[in-house]
Symmetry: C2
Subunit: 206 residues, 2 copies
């Protein structure tokens, strides 16, 4: 049975994946209003009926796309983390900060920004997005702590890593209308040097 | 002549100001799509014809509103700066960082976010917004330098102040869907302590 059904399941999974990827591209490139199920389905080369079979509403499609892309990126980041751990000292800190910040300038961030901003004035969407935002925040924080190899139980460390994620979000927003990569590089370097010194400074309470 | 025309000019200025303030409120509360000239005019208690006399297009109204609110806020910040300068040491740094960050959680930031995000997929609007964003960035940077009383000619100082503005933008974005004030307070405190130490550390090149 399983063997007989596998190709169909594979096709269904591939269709789903194409729809999710097309959703992120549409949101990032054409904005909230233009990213409808019909437009996404056309971009993915899927019939509108098939799209609606997978995702009954536009909100279902959009939240699934954000979750799928975030989880894919987290998996990819896990693989890159091994490379980062080979470095040490301030080079490791800078590699982690740079990787984190770059992840906030990708199409997923630009798509999420469209959704977050629209949700600000749409209570039903906001209700779906708030738990998603909280989960993304928790996972990103844990990932940064692991990549830096620091102790999150220390409150100074905890808040500095949180601040680094907030900085990354702010730098992501600064890259939406113009290419901010040159300025960003200098900020990332200075932040990494400052963060590294602060993470490794002796604690007053110690 | 001037005396005869003043009351009319005053009324015209007051109408303009009500339209600009209503635009910011509409954008911040109901989002990009709902903030049309008709809706703003009704909220301001102004006829649609009078609104269009002042601002021929929606883009004129929205960019004028962002500029007006930004300039008002800058004037207000100048008055507050005298108070901040009375403090010194880390308290002054923390007062500056806190004031700066809070300014990114107000209705102007929430309105600007709606416009910036929409402009990402609207080339004509983007063309109008990019110079505005650049000017807001320059003025905010200069204001932070003055309030901190530091030397912007030092590249470490320059980049740390830029990073503080990026952090503030990221914290502003984190406050759009939920009240993030408790977490934000702890981040502001930790960053102020770290920033103060870094601004006052001896420079390697010195």
């Amino acid at each position: 049975m399983a063997t007989l059904h596998e190709p169909k399941q594979d096709r269904s999974r591939a269709t789903r994946q194409r729809l999710l990827e097309a959703t992120i591209d549409c949101l990032a490139q054409t904005g909230w209003a233009a990213a409808t199920v019909a437009v996404v389905a056309e971009r993915a080369g899927v019939s509108r009926g098939a799209a609606q079979h997978h995702f009954p509403t536009r909100e279902d499609l959009i939240t699934a796309a954000l979750e799928y892309m975030f989880d894919s990126r987290t998996e990819q980041a896990k693989e890159e983390a091994a490379q980062v751990r080979a470095a040490d000292g301030v080079s490791r800190t800078e590699a982690v900060v740079a990787g984190l910040v770059e992840s906030y300038t990708d199409p997923l961030f630009k798509a999420a920004l469209q959704v977050w901003t629209h949700a600000a004035a749409d209570p039903a969407l906001r209700e779906r997005i708030v738990p998603l935002e909280a989960r993304f925040g928790r996972v990103s924080h844990r990932r940064a702590i692991e990549a830096l190899g620091v102790d999150d139980g220390d409150p100074v460390t905890h808040h500095l890593v949180q601040a680094t994620l907030d900085l990354a979000r702010g730098l992501g927003l600064a890259d939406v209308l113009t290419d901010d990569s040159v300025r960003r590089k200098a900020i990332v370097h200075q932040w990494a040097v400052t963060l590294h010194a602060a993470l490794n400074a002796p604690r007053e309470s110690a």
